[in-house]
Subunit: 141 residues, 2 copies
DNA sequence: TTCACTGCAAAACGTTTGCAAACAG
DNA sequence: CTGTTTGCAAACGTTTTGCAGTGAA
């Protein structure tokens, strides 16, 4: 799925244009398995490039997302979080500490088919989120 | 009318109260199988009670949600939508027209167990959302 | 030069909150 | 009378946008 470039016709063959700032933003998202919010990405990016602006971080995240280099995880109406893992996967969020982790559930092909049947939709993607207690928070104190 | 849950701890005594405005808001949410946004609820509520304010609609929705009478469906960072169906169920959202429908997927007990195992979380609830084309949008015009 | 990208500030959007007045018990 | 709820407006957090200036092909 190389679905880049929605408007800027000129550019070569759908190759992502990684400017310095976009590279910084990408590095931040990829440099850990946390799922930073845009604000957190901004703070981290600023340490590498003090002049970068909030808008550029947002623009970059949007660009990287549509370029398929990061994934946005929008959960509730709070701040979106950004995920370096771009393949299909599921999320678990801790109801106590807010930790968000990726995991992979086998059998999603079957799942998506069952969901499509039950909803009568033509399936494009399926999103599965588990809410519960993360290993740390479930541990007895 | 249903018995309300008073276990909400915070307030000392006093039954949860369905005031006129809360009743109107509840009626709006329950009077269709659409999943209105807070703004849409506000618009509809105004027709029944022209003096009702935006803040009251929000406050009422929050109240009704925690009283277990409506369910909030927060999807992405857009506006939350409100669902009269309070039992566990899944959602399908149309990528073309935005239609949101409820459906029920059998086997979610097994699913939640598998997800808990894969994530090592202690499961509380699981949310499954299918993105695709609704029956209308998939149909040839 | 050209054209996309950056940075800034301000707008947009959905939601919450502070407060005085209205109201229910 | 006491405590809750309302309505208003203003504040809030997140994201987008308008626009002038920058910088790379």
């Amino acid at each position: 799925m190389r679905k880049l470039d929605k408007s800027a016709g000129k550019r070569g063959f759908g190759e992502p244009v990684l400017t310095r700032q976009r590279k910084v933003v990408l590095d931040v998202v990829q440099s850990g398995d946390t799922h930073p919010t845009a604000g957190e990405v901004f703070a981290a990016a600023r340490k590498m490039m003090p002049a970068i602006s909030f808008a550029t971080v947002y623009n970059s995240l949007r660009y990287l997302k549509q370029a398929g280099l990061v994934r946005e995880v929008a959960f509730g109406n709070g701040a979106s979080r950004y995920d370096r893992e771009t393949d299909r996967h599921d999320h678990a969020i801790c109801s106590e500490c807010g930790t968000l982790v990726d995991f992979d559930l086998p059998g999603t092909v079957e799942l998506i088919r069952a969901a499509a049947r039950a909803s009568r939709f033509k399936a494009e993607s399926i999103h599965l989120t588990l809410v519960g207690l993360c290993p740390q928070c479930r541990a007895p104190k």
